[in-house]
Amino acid sequence: MLFLELFYVFFKIGLFGFGGGYAMLSMIQGEVVTAHHWLTTSQFADIVAISQSTPGPIGINSATYAGYVSVVNEGYSPLMGVVGSLVATTAVVLPSFLLVLLVLKVLKHYREHPVTKTMFLALRPAVVGLLLAAVLVLLTKENFSSPAENMWQFCISVFLAVAAFVGTFFFKIHPIRMLLLSAFAGLLLFY
């Protein structure tokens, strides 16, 4: 039964998908392309591209897309494809519910414990390091272009990044407004 299998596979991905979206993508590839042949390799490449260029978490985007395409590839109607999306997305989210609620329950008892406090005091600066790492990892040619490749795009990109930082940090512009402004700038300058 395809839908049960879809549920099982995506539940597993949700349960063992440590390390966020990109780690999940490789699990999805292993299960959906290599093990079950629900998608072709090029359809999987589409998932990666589409998940990155549409809003929302990559894990959800890819589960929704893979759920739909897997079912349609097996010869079902697009409507059943929507059901497939729903099954895959629910399944990928379900382990999070169970785990986060469990952790919160445990934390309730231990939150004020001195050892828990020490752990969180140590983890907080580490998390700031994590965010900094995310910034460093994203300083790539794909995001900024490079002086050798396209001087114009590179300079505009650096300018937009600096402007976005100054705008949100110093002038308290809402990040969503900042994103819309940079989208508009992109459209004007790069089209």
Binding site: T64, L101, L131, A163, I176
Partner: protein, 180 residues
Amino acid sequence: MKSNIYLQGFLTFLKIGLFTIGGGYAMIPLIEREVVDRHRWLDKEEFLDLMSLSQALPGVFAVNFSIYIGQRLRGLRGSLALAAGIVLPSFVIILLVAMFFMAFADNRVIEAVFKGVRPAVVALIAVPCVKLGKAARITPSNVWFPLLVAVAIAVAGISPVYIIIAVAVGAYIYGRYFKD
């Protein structure tokens, strides 16, 4: 409408889901602004703690966030409302793309828009880095620690999951056996 926290939470996370481009970390500045600065559902310290928990747990980062915050606000029903908010935009947009326009990624307009958005997303992630520094009690004497973490991940390629686990275990041992 202000009184209905379910609806408010749902709409807030719907907005976050709709404007998060590029996955997990891109959502942090939006959540921080909405949840910490605007609605004050969490303080900065708890927001940092939530980040380390979400990172250590499997699953979709953004979804873990929404479930945690929803549960803190209104229990299970709160977490369902917020998780629905974060998932819905992705779900609808991806289905539309899958059903109607597969050639979406080649569109020149979309491409130009993304060329503008991507550098801004990177800068937006840098903002909470600076804003949360004080809540994380980072001072000139211990700034080496977050810097070391950043280098370990970005340069040495160590998974953040291992870093969180290592720091948690280290702090546990220190707190349990060495801190008088």
